[in-house]
């Protein structure tokens, strides 16, 4: 009631805002929820958290403390054999549509032919590679360079970089994508409105629009697995340990050892996103 009165107040918007401020200050103690809509998000969060014991400090996942982990991913390009078992495992594990154009993780092949100074790049969704596969559910790299002179070639597995400052989170108009304290960027499928701003904001092309659910989808580092102590599905199936995953807080974890023992790089560092997928053995051409 007092709100409608203050709108008609001759003092205008400024007067209304100051009145609102005073109102909030007095009511903040008894109604923490009210302040959520206004300036003081942080105070509201702690007030609401203390009022709701089902959302403890350790995070909303039972038997898992998200303040104790800092997950990160490593890719050893010198080991990848391009078998695409990771792509297939990811689709099975995460119910990604089985068409070659939708994927949470993918593998790129960089091939330098004799006399050419730019690499030729193809992925499993390249038409030639789709034609080489036995069925639309099957993925493989074709032997298209069989009769060419290849001077250098390598595979680069790619996935969501789970950035420190994710551009995709910044542009979401509804708060349907967010970063958790353990370093994983997630999408709230129920809350996503399907506007696809985030798909365009990601400098790595890691997000795709899922036509089946009408929401954006991307890699979660298999959050349902890592919170249970398992490795992501792609890491679990990789037959050559080209994919490494672990907790940076644990100096003995696979990823900590990988980061210490290899000259590592990240993709497009100049975008300022702060990727947390670390690469070994990639050219500057890879981005």
């Amino acid at each position: 009631m007092s709100e409608t009165k203050s709108i008609t107040d001759p003092a205008g918007r400024r007067g209304f805002m100051s009145l609102l401020g005073k109102l909030c200050a007095t009511t903040a103690v008894c109604s923490g929820v009210g302040t959520v809509s206004l300036q003081n998000l942080a105070t509201a969060a702690s007030a609401a958290a203390s009022a709701k014991p089902e959302f403890p400090e350790a995070g909303p996942v039972p038997e898992y403390d998200w303040t104790k982990h800092r997950w990160a991913f490593g890719v050893d390009s010198t080991r990848c054999i391009g078998c695409l078992r990771c792509v297939e495992a990811c689709k099975v594990e995460n119910h990604v549509p089985f068409n070659p154009q939708n994927y949470r993780t993918w593998v790129e092949r960089y091939v330098y032919l004799e006399g050419e100074d730019k690499p030729r790049v193809d992925t499993q969704s390249d038409p030639v590679n789709i034609a080489a596969a036995a069925s639309p559910q099957d993925y493989r790299f074709s032997n298209r360079y069989r009769d060419k002179k290849v001077t250098k070639s390598f595979f680069v597995p790619k996935l969501c970089n789970h950035c420190e400052n994710p551009a995709c989170v910044q542009v979401c108009p509804v708060g349907a994508t967010y970063k958790t304290p353990d370093g994983v960027v997630l999408i709230d499928e129920k809350y996503c409105i399907g506007c696809r701003y985030c798909v365009q904001a990601c400098p790595y092309g890691a997000r795709y629009f899922n036509e089946e659910t009408q929401t954006t989808d991307k890699c979660t580092w298999c959050y349902h697995r890592i919170t249970k102590g398992l490795k992501p599905a792609c890491v679990e199936v990789c037959p050559v340990q080209a994919r490494v995953f672990g907790d940076l807080n644990d100096p003995a974890s696979d990823i900590s050892v990988f980061v210490r023992s290899h000259p590592i790089n990240v993709l497009k560092p100049w975008t300022g996103n702060g990727p947390h997928v670390f690469y070994n053995g990639i050219d500057g051409e890879v981005s």
Partner: protein
């Protein structure tokens, strides 16, 4: 109106940890894993597990092949529902050429350390499983070595694995030692390992510890355990 709307519309758990729905984290985290670790299948398929875990394909976990889309067997769903079948439907013989070449066809981009074949000239139209045991591909289905690996006679990797338990205390269960003064055995040449054990046994090479260990081994044991460690990953 605006304030009332902002209070009314956001879902219950919105804003507790940040600008998002806290309940969605739990929604994502409670999904059921499909891919399991190989140990999950060891009791249902003990024979295959034993062969596989002793061979060079032990880095290729069960579901790398057995949940391949189009293959009829889905071991994860079997294990998940506890309806384990003792005779799972294996990939059809003809499929092995489609499956094995995913890793082993010689194509641009595949690094040299990976064993690769030119499919047509290598298999001459035969299924891969006609010669190779897919669980341990350096051996045939009847257990004969396909690649003669040094010593004479048949190498028994399963026996080698059993013997390796003695070595594991110092050299690590995976052949990678945790202590600086004990050497790694994984990836070491089979002939070198067998030669070293023979020398320790005869006393040509002096070591109170190793001589004691080697004394109890037969010539076949030495070849088996050497073959086992030489096939381990050096990671």
């Amino acid at each position: 109106m605006f304030v009332a709307g902002k209070i009314y519309f956001p879902p219950k758990s919105f804003g507790i940890y940040g600008h998002y729905r806290a309940a969605s984290v739990e929604d994502i985290a409670t999904a059921h894993p499909t891919y399991l670790t190989p140990v999950s299948f060891s009791t249902a398929y003990p024979k295959q597990y034993e062969t596989w875990s002793a061979g060079i394909h032990k880095v290729v976990k069960c579901q790398v092949c057995h949940t391949t889309v189009g293959m009829t067997m889905n071991m994860a769903s079997l294990a998940g529902t506890a309806e384990l079948s003792s005779s799972p439907t294996l990939p059809a013989a003809g499929d092995s050429r489609k499956l094995c070449v995913k890793c082993h066809e010689r194509i641009a981009g595949r690094p040299d350390y990976m064993p690769q074949i030119d499919v047509d000239s290598h298999s001459k139209g035969q299924a891969c499983t006609a010669c190779h045991n897919p669980h341990s591909p350096l051996f045939s289905n009847s257990g004969e070595p396909i690649v003669a690996a040094g010593g004479a006679g048949t190498i028994d990797l399963v026996a080698g694995k059993k013997l390796s338990a003695t070595c594991a205390g110092c050299h690590g269960p995976e052949g990678v030692s945790a202590v600086a003064m004990f050497p790694n055995l994984a990836c070491q040449k089979q002939q070198y390992l067998a030669g070293a054990l023979t020398d320790f046994q005869s006393g040509t090479r002096a070591s109170p510890v190793m001589s004691g260990v080697a004394k109890g081994l037969s010539a076949a044991d030495i070849q088996n355990v050497a073959a086992y460690f030489s096939g381990m990953s050096c990671k």
